[in-house]
């Protein structure tokens, strides 16, 4: 009797399995991407709001392409801590790893090992060292350095009505990122906005350094106003500077327009009350979303990550540029319209 029952159960199980196989859609949900991929999304560290948003975008992409995505990673943002989780990914036979590199060197041997086991690796948000770019297929990064600078010029031009003189309130004089962005602002302003100028004549002479310190940034903001009373706008390409500028502008009820790179959660009150019309930053949600598409296409064999190749994510196409990097494009901007949503995210 029991044996018979067992047979029936076994038969039922087999039939069930067959039915399940038949029900699974044979064709992909998104053309060019295999369904049912097992994807790991690894932040520098879990429990960081920025990466929670990043993962949100990744999960959205996963849903669209019918993949199973797990958000895994260490609690401390170090390379060695990530390595343990990369090993786990290798063990658990994931198809794809999308990772924000907490250390541009230390995780490279592990990524190579993952690659050797056939795992498709894509870095997103933070890349490995340029010399190790072979350890991943492609890197999905926010925006090209030049464009981060020139986009901010566009924002301030819009705010001041495309005329008047402007200044920059930067981080430290040695900050490499900021310096690269600022260098791109100079020629762009001259070329695109002939009725605008720099308060000090050139962009270098119009740049003030707040050292990413709230007090110092506030003092430098005041210094710009007293030195150049007719300054029309100030760009602050750093989250500390732009926040200090907004606070001080409001306190002094100054007329100068302010924009720059700001965290929506910090800038929300000043955008809501009109102190600043617009600030921008890259959108981690898009970063995660695009990275999953790039990785899934690479795993499905419809994208190879070579310079000059391109891939589609959602309804946009992204091109791979020098160094195997795909840039999202313009920084994402926050205005009264969308700030309520984004201030909750990061």
């Amino acid at each position: 009797m029991i044996k018979k029952l067992a047979k029936v159960v076994a038969a039922a199980a087999i039939v069930g399995a067959l039915v399940a196989t038949a029900v699974t859609p044979a064709s992909a949900v998104v053309p060019g991407i295999k369904t049912g991929l097992k994807i790991a999304i690894m932040p520098k560290a879990v429990n960081i709001g920025y990466f929670t948003a990043w993962n949100k975008g990744a999960q959205k992409a996963c849903k669209e392409i019918g993949a199973k995505c797990d958000y895994v990673g260490p609690t401390e943002a170090t390379g060695p801590a990530q390595v343990q989780f990369i090993n786990k990914i290798i063990q658990q036979r994931y198809d794809v790893l999308v990772i924000s590199a907490a250390d541009q060197n230390a995780i490279v041997p592990s990524l190579n090992r993952a690659k050797a086991r056939g795992i498709t690796v894509v870095t997103s948000d933070a890349d490995v060292a340029a010399a190790s770019s072979k350890s991943r297929v492609v890197s999905v990064l926010p925006a090209a350095s030049d464009r981060i600078g020139t986009a901010q010029v566009d924002w301030i031009a819009e705010a001041v009505g495309k005329k008047g003189s402007i200044a920059v309130l930067s981080a430290a004089a040695t900050a490499a990122n900021q310096n690269a962005w600022i260098a791109a602002m100079g020629p762009y302003l001259t070329k695109k906005y002939p009725n605008m100028s720099w308060v000090g004549g050139t962009v270098d002479k119009s740049t003030f350094y707040g050292d990413d310190d709230a007090t110092k940034s506030t003092a430098q903001f005041a210094a710009i106003l007293s030195q150049y009373p007719d300054v029309a706008g100030i760009i602050s390409p750093t989250t500390v500077g732009v926040l200090a500028a907004a606070i001080e502008k409001k306190a002094k009820n100054a007329k100068v327009k302010v924009t720059g790179l700001g965290l929506p959660s910090q800038m929300a009150p000043y955008i809501e009350d009109g102190t600043t019309e617009k600030v921008g930053l890259w959108n981690p949600i898009d970063l995660g979303y695009v990275a999953v598409y790039a990785a899934a296409r690479a795993e499905s064999g419809t994208f190879n990550g070579r310079v000059g190749s391109s891939f589609k994510a959602g309804n946009k196409t992204y091109k791979v540029t020098k160094g195997g990097i795909a840039f999202l494009g313009d920084p994402f901007t926050f205005t009264k319209k969308n700030i309520a949503t984004f201030k909750k995210i990061y």
């Binding site: 879990v46 990673g73 230390a106 060292a129």
Partner: protein
Amino acid sequence: MKKKYTFGWDQGVAIFLLMTVVIGSFVSEYFANFDNISFVIQDIAEIAIIALAMTYLIIAGEIDLSVASILCLSSATLGFLFRNGAPFEMAILGGLLVGLLCGLINGFLVTVVGLPSLAVTIGTLALFRGLCYALLGNEPVNELPEEWIVLGYENIPGTFLPWSTIPLAILAAIAWIVLHYTRIGRWTFAIGINPEAAKFSGIPVARMKLGLFAVTGLMSGVAGVVYTLRFASASPDGAVGYELSVIAAVLFGGVAIAGGVGTLWGVLAAVLSLGAIRSVLQLIDFSANALLVVSGALLLISVVVPKAIEIYQSRRNSAFVTKI
């Protein structure tokens, strides 16, 4: 307290390790395979190498909290020398020498100056770490020679064992023989049980301790080289917090924090247990936050349980005495 219960702590650890492996293979299909064994060994290699020396030090009644900083400084020295044009072999030698030197500094301050090792090595923990930053700046050294890096992450050809198994196995064998079958081993226990008595029985206590600190420094240096190869880079923030894992493993392996008691194989079983537990928890998708709790809990268990047993037994003994 001579052998009261035939069932020792170190046997308990071995059974614990076995249970972890058995349970691990049941709860995760990815646990018991050669790949994972390779990962676990890689993961614990540095901790195991340092733990070998730390076993001696704690048995002798001393401790070294600066081992992770020495590891880092040795790795930083290696990177610094290589960055400045030294051949890689020389850079490795330099890293090992710096490890030895750090151990000698600790030993000198403890044995010659006469300071407690806890205080000394808390100081050098910060000092050596600071020197890492001074040496490398905020710039990690990468682009190490490829033929060396592969030793850091590949297996010995034809086996499932990572290259780091070789130094680990050789050093463990030496440490085992010396601790349990030579005069140096007996002296180490004697010093831990009663340093005064050891001194009067003609054991060169100060020289022994200096030697143990020096060897611990050197082993941390070896671990530093292994670490550098494994992560293909030398970075000033490497191996932060490793001293805790080393000490947790040694104590969990049955070495008494007060000194005088312990076996090397107990410690090795404990290091493996630590690696196995971490692997199992990771593979069953335990959150990373919970992993921290586990090593902390193991440390506490290994200190609290023996003490509890001791108290329980002395109570029972005294009760017995009063009855008579």
